[in-house]
Amino acid sequence: MDVIPENEQISDLYWANKEEVAAVLGASYVQMQKSLQQLVVWGEARGNGLALGGFVDVDLQRFKLFDLTPSNELVKWGNFYTIINYANMVIKYAPEVVAKDPSFSEPIMQSYLSEAYFLRALSYFYLARNFRDVPLILEPYMNDQASFEMEKSTQEAVFNQIITDLEGALEYSKEVWPTEWETKGRSTKWAIYATLADVYLWTAQYDKAIIACNAVINSGRVGLIAGKVNSKNNWYTIFNPGNSNESIFEIQFDNTKNQTNSLVSWFGSSYNWVISPYMVTAFEWNSEDIRGAGATYSQADYKVWKYLGAEAGTGVPRTYSDQNWIIYRMADIYLMKAEALVMKGASYYTDATELVNTIRARAGISQPLSPLSTEIEMLDQVLHEKALEFVGEGKRWYDLLRVAQRNNYVYKDYLINQVLLGISGGSAPVIRSKLLNVNSHYLPIYIDELQANSLLEQNPYYDNLN
């Protein structure tokens, strides 16, 4: 009575060799590629680096104006949980495959596990930063035996799990892969350290953050690339062709392998995003900055040239929409370390400013900054530099939120003021009042999730909007 399909691979017969384990990891990365919209919107819409273009997408507009409802399509979290489920599968089944496949040795298996832990941690990191409390699922769903309904775990528990995963992933992680795209596009020791540094900053473990940053800085595998080479804007090569020496982890795309994204559409043709007037003004303060007009954005129409052009300073566009999405690069490490140093106290302000100045100097700015007197001034100095360096790279909102929520939201006003700098028109007072309620800093859970999972509670602030 056991009838098996001839044209389909069934789960019972899966997990037989190492290629199958690797293919599930591959599927996780594909899912990462598919999450691009969330990476852009979640990281940028609520920040002040980008403004809406001419195209009216109602859900996006509402996102930008903090007018979020549980039916906003852009708050769906499914992509990340799919990655988590795949990673959970690898973590559970890869050790079993070792017995079945003689070519699957323990170290290879451990290296796969390390990759899976990294992907799981990274996914939870995005979820926890956007939804605060989320269901923490560590076992794969392969069949209907486990309960589908799960309660939320606290953000703290999720962060702890992330740290456990990442620290555990370090041992067997790879320093370098055989090919360039793998070294930049798959999990490496440096990617794990970079993520760890970020999580430590969120969890106020500044010494550990500094150690993690130093591990990357001293790795010898990655480094800051020069800003200008022979009067050519070398900084722009971070984005095109990408996979530069500065890069730590980028989600890979390649048109020749039929893997393209919608960045050119979002930032160009369909005109969702332009650089915000606030950022343009910020760049205009310093005409030396090689990152400004012609590189990060185009002077004529304020489109984000980073994702559209083939090179800086010219009007030559990219041929295909297959630019990589950078999750971490070296400049990040410098500025994360600077932030950690600031948080350690006034005695470290000089060191922090030094790091900021390194990034500024690389950008061609001759005038170094000096340390400032208060913590928030110092933080602003670091974050402002980060804003300039990372326009449209999906970081701004997290930076503002991380700084603001520390120590029981002492810097809540800083977040509100920064957000409002990116808002034009009459909605500013409304947004200010919304942001005063810190629950509005997190996203609502999509309406279908609540229907399908009765244990899930809508996030506060949105629970009466269903």
Binding site: P5, Q9, A27, N143, W181, E182, D448, Q451, N453
Partner: protein
């Protein structure tokens, strides 16, 4: 190996040689009673089991020569057509002369000879002793009725078998026995033909280009002329041997078989003409234009000049609705076209069938051929079928009997191109602007033969809203389904012991269906870049079904008082399906309909599935004193669509019956001839549909991640998936009274479905999966009763009058909602109803607003609370009612504000009705006077509600579609007494899903009125003809109904949320037929 084989072979030869060593020869002459020799008579020798051992026949002089094997107890049997059979014991006579006597009886009444043997059901139990309910229907009653597929003739004939038949040639019908018992598993009954299940469902796994396939009724491959009788099994005890497949009831079809006696030829021919009732009257060209202009003006008035600018531009700059003779298409847009009339026609139907049957002592046979041609009332729809059936039965001996039925049919159905989301030509024709011409108008002002299909016009385009030229659609598009079916049933019966019988059955059923579709550019007017430009598709599916059954029946009459019947069955069932489909666009020519090379591939797909079922059944039946009967059975069953944990399931059934009519105290009264009280209880199961739905599947994602392959799970392994269980209790009473002239059956039942199968359940995405295929949850029941009456009021030689009536009621209720049920999200918009399944309410309920008519003036538009007091806003001003977010104006639709908050929104939704009928009924009478026979039949369904979507689309006055003439009485000024709101183009909520469009579709229909004249026997016998009947039959002649649509018989949708919606499908035409039946 080879050596062994040779050894065995030579041994075998030796045995044969030994047996043939010394054959005895018997010689003799066969003569008739007058002493004349009979040439060609059959002589054979049989053993004590009546097994034919050797045979021979007489020569021209009546002499025969017969080899006699050396065995004890032999009998010589001699027979010839027209003479009585003679049996003479063999006592080693050297020669034997035999005289045969004339057989008057066989010549006269062969038909009667079929035998009144006591009929038994599949488990060897006589109908009299059954504990369950069965209703039998003789197809003879329908022999004067022309129809293509058998179910359309059965409408209303069987109690609580609710059949809604499609009106297009060859279209599928929906059949529900005792209500809908499942939400997502199949609710159609099992069809069994000659003891072998006959699959009618379309495989779940193949859901590509099935929009057409689903509509192809597979029962159309059986010719109604070949069916002898139909029996319906409803309760669990009766359906037990068919198990899960029969959980929704079983229809047993028995085909006609050969009968002992002279060879019979019969021929019948039917011709009929089908004419549709008049369609609902629609606006003509000028009325349409003025409606649109009225609507646009009202909108502009509401919005004000500035906001309504786009509407003003529309009004002034749209040539189609303006009078501008200088415009190039002026002629084409100043016509008066009745589009519905253009796409319909008078249909007709021919059915011819011919059969030969006969047989002797040993063998009987029947061969039939049929040809049918059915032309529908929608242009371009037709169906034709060739079919043949051969059935042979051979009796080797008293112990061994073998029969084979072979059938082959070839059908060809033509229709118009269809796809999900594209309206039917009738629907489009209703809304097509009537001032437009279907043809390009030539310089002479006359229509040319070129279709006028602009790419885009005022009403839209094919790309935007699937608008097309309906006349070109019915005439030019192709949708052709060719079905071929070959079926063989082979059966062997062997009496192992006098009381123990074995029956082995093997059935093969091979089907091949090919569907071709083509949508030429002349229908759509699209550019060559469009994916629908010359779109063609090709689909092929091959199915093979293999059924086997091994059955042992032990039937022992222990004494006069005790009888037991024990049976054991082992059934297997295997279905193999293979299919592929391809769909391309941009084909080379509008005359090509196969996808051609170079065309752009729009879709491709293939399916390859295998399912298996197996069951072990045991049953025990005990009769005490012929009056007290008890029966118990158990079915142990497995289905390959379930995982190992839940694959096998057992379903018990028990029943009891009491023949109280045989009790002496009643017998003495002499009122009733038969009276039986029955009680049964049993369970049966429904397995999820499709092959291996429980299996988790991994599928590659292409492209992968850079050079890495990517494979991920696409569906989850469902270890918990199990059978949906139906538990049924049945109480029935059968009565026969008035000298066997009155038969009454009454029945009450309760069917409870538990572990309802839920399909495509949305999972929390935190599981990493979007959906799961099936989930068991929820409970539903169907309760009801049935009443059947047959009365032969007058039974005389020259005059007979008989009545029949059946009434049934089924009530359906959701007892427990599935714990994970997700409602369709209701969206506040025009024409939309909320669909919910609510505990305590039946499935198929509609929810919407209460319609109160039209706001007459500004005063009425002020918002009031529940107590009728005006609602004031913060500033103390009165507020205006709102439909959704839009303020109402006089002339707008008025809905009841249930919560009295001044806004019509989803909180004002109430229960409006249900698609399930309260009662269904069928009744008829027949009168015979001498050689004339008048038969009538009425069919009725009562109390079901239908959403009249056709009215929604022809009375909304909001868009560009043509409307019915009802809108001529629309509201225009204060004081207009009307319940039709004003015209309002593109704005407002004047046709929210409300009770305005929910109608009671109760009807009684005169299904059949037939008059037959049989030519007198005395006259016919001179020409050797036994029967010559001439008849005329009228079908669907008249319908009594208050329903405003074209046909109250609205087909049930497979969508459980929206069970009946009138979408302007082809209405049942009136049919007038003439025919003859001839036997010789």
């Amino acid at each position: 190996m080879k050596v062994k084989l040779i050894l065995v072979l030579s041994l075998f030869c030796w045995v044969l040689a030994l047996r043939g060593q010394q054959p005895l020869i018997l010689r003799g002459k066969i003569t008739d009673s007058n002493g004349y020799p009979i040439p060609g008579a059959t002589v054979f020798v049989e053993n004590q089991d009546k097994r034919n051992l050797k045979g021979s026949s007489t020569d021209a002089n009546g002499n025969y020569r017969l080899e006699i094997p050396i065995l004890p107890d032999l009998t010589i049997v001699c027979s010839s057509i027209g003479y009585q059979i003679k049996r003479i014991p063999y006592t080693n006579q050297p020669s034997l002369a035999i005289t045969l006597n004339d057989d008057v009886k066989t010549l006269d009444a062969v038909v009667v000879q079929g035998g009144k043997a006591v009929e038994k059901n599949n488990l060897g139990i006589t109908y009299r002793d059954q504990v369950s309910s069965t209703q039998r229907f003789e197809m003879k009653e329908l022999e004067q009725m022309p129809f293509t597929s058998v179910e359309s003739g059965l409408q209303g004939r069987l109690a609580n078998v609710d059949i809604v038949a499609g009106a297009d040639p060859g279209s599928k019908s929906s059949i529900r026995i005792r209500g809908t018992s499942s939400l997502n598993a199949n609710s159609e009954p099992l069809i069994v033909v000659d003891g072998v299940p006959y699959p009618t469902e379309i495989s779940d796994d193949f859901n590509f280009s099935t929009a057409n396939d689903e509509d192809f009724g597979s029962l159309v491959n059986i010719s109604p002329n070949d069916i002898e009788s139909i029996e319906v099994l409803k309760d669990a005890a009766a359906t037990a041997i068919w198990g899960s497949q029969g959980a929704n009831g079983v229809l047993l079809f028995t085909t006609k078989k050969g009968k002992k006696g002279r060879t019979q030829f019969s021929f019948s021919s039917k011709l009929d003409v089908k004419k549709e009732a008049e369609h609902i009257p629609l606006l003509d060209g000028s009325q349409y234009v003025s409606l649109i202009q009225d609507g646009v003006w009202n909108t502009v008035n509401d919005l004000g000049y500035q906001n309504g600018l786009s509407y003003i531009n529309l009004l002034y700059n749209t040539n189609e609705i303006n009078f501008d003779p200088s415009w190039v298409y002026f002629d084409e847009y100043n016509q008066n076209t009745d589009w519905v009339k253009e796409v319909t026609q008078i249909g007709h139907f021919e059915d011819n069938s011919f059969s030969v049957s006969g047989g002797g002592d040993k063998a009987t046979y029947r061969v039939s051929l049929g040809y049918l041609n059915d032309i529908g009332t929608t242009k371009g729809t037709k169906f034709n079928r060739y079919n043949s059936l051969v059935s042979v039965n051979y009796r080797f001996s008293n112990k061994l009997q073998v029969s084979a039925d072979m059938s082959y049919s070839l059908s060809d159905r033509n229709s118009y191109w269809t796809e999900d989301g594209t309206g039917s030509p009738r629907g489009v024709a209703m809304n097509r602007m009537p001032n437009m011409s279907p043809w390009v108008i030539g310089d002479d002002g006359q229509a040319t033969s070129e279709y006028f299909t602009p790419r885009i016009n005022f009403q839209g385009s094919f790309a935007d809203n699937k608008l097309y030229n309906p006349l070109a659609m019915v005439n030019e598009s192709v949708n052709n389904t060719t079905g071929e079916q070959a079926r063989v049933i082979f059966r062997l019966m062997y009496n192992i012991l006098p009381d123990l019988q074995y029956t082995g059955t093997v059935g093969f059923d091979a089907r091949s269906t090919k569907n071709r579709k083509f949508l030429p550019q002349s229908v759509t007017g699209v550019l060559w870049t469009d994916p629908y430009f010359n779109r063609g598709s090709d689909m092929l599916s091959d199915d093979l079904y293999l059924n086997t059954e091994n059955k042992f029946i032990y039937n022992k009459q222990i004494s006069d008082d005790h009888q037991i019947i024990l049976s054991g069955l082992f059934q297997t069932n295997e279905a193999k399906r293979f299919s592929y489909a391809s769909e391309t666009s941009g084909n080379a020519s509008a005359s090509l309909s196969d996808p051609t090379a170079g065309a752009a591939v729009a879709n491709m797909g293939s399916g390859n599935t295998l399912t298996r079922k197996t069951a072990l059944i045991s049953n025990a039946h005990y009769t005490f004193m012929g009056k007290y009967i008890i029966n118990g059975g158990y079915r142990w069953e497995a289905n390959s669509s379930l995982g190992r944990n839940h694959r096998w399931a057992g379903f018990p059934s028990i029943g009891a019956a009491w023949q109280f009519g045989d009790e002496n105290f009643l017998k003495k009264l002499g009122i009733i001839q038969m009276g039986k009280l029955r009680l049964s209880w049993g369970k049966s199961g429904n397995a999820p549909s499709g092959a291996w739905p429980y299996l988790g599947i991994f599928q590659p994602t292409t492209p992968g991640y850079m050079d890495m392959a990517a494979i991920g799970p696409t569906s989850m392994q469902l270890e918990n998936l199990k059978w949906e269980t139906i538990t049924q209790t049945d109480v029935g009473i059968d009565l026969t009274m008035l000298d066997n002239r009155l038969n009454i059956t009454a029945e009450w039942y309760d069917r409870r479905t538990t572990d309802l199968l839920q399909k495509d359940i949305t999972l929390p995405s935190s599981t990493g999966f979007g959906k799961m295929k099936f989930y068991n949850s929820g409970e539903l029941y169907n309760k009801g009763w049935e009443f059947i009456l047959n009365y032969d009021a007058i039974k005389k030689e020259d005059f007979q009058l008989s009545f029949n009536l059946n009434v049934s009621r089924n009530r359906n209720e959701v007892v427990e909602l599935p714990d994970n049920l997700q409602f369709e999200n209701y969206e506040f918009k025009n024409g939309a109803y909320a669909h919910k399944i609510v505990e305590g309410n039946p499935i198929g309920s509609f929810y919407g607003y209460r319609y109160l008519g039209v706001y007459q003036n500004v005063d009425e538009t002020y918002a009031r609370d529940i107590n009728g007091n005006l609602i004031h806003d913060i500033n103390g001003e009165t507020t205006i009612m709102k439909n959704g977010i839009r303020k109402v104006y006089p002339g707008d639709a008025k809905y009841q504000d249930m919560d009295g908050n001044g806004v019509i929104d989803q909180y004002d939704i109430v229960y409006l009705g249900n698609a399930m009928p309260l009662f269904t009924s069928g009744a008829g009478f027949s009168i015979r006077y001498k050689s004339f026979l008048l038969t009538t039949f009425f069919h009725g369904r009562f109390g079901q509600k239908v959403v009249n979507s056709t009215r929604i689309s022809t009375e909304n006055m909001q868009g560009t579609g043509n409307q019915s003439t009802a809108v001529l009485s629309r509201w225009r000024h204060e004081g207009d007494i009307t319940d039709i709101p004003r015209a309002l183009y593109g704005e407002g909520y004047n046709y929210l899903g409300s009770d305005r469009f929910v109608e009671d579709a109760s009807f009684v229909r005169l299904k059949m009125l037939s008059l037959r004249y049989s030519l007198p026997k005395s006259f016919l016998s001179r020409y050797g003809i036994q029967r010559f009947d001439v008849f005329t039959t009228m079908q669907d002649l008249y319908t009594w109904t208050d329903y405003s649509g074209q046909d109250p018989e609205v087909s049930l949708s497979s969508n459980i949320y929206m069970l009946s919606e009138d979408k302007a499908s082809t209405p049942r035409p009136r049919r007038f037929a003439l025919g003859i039946m001839l036997n010789f």
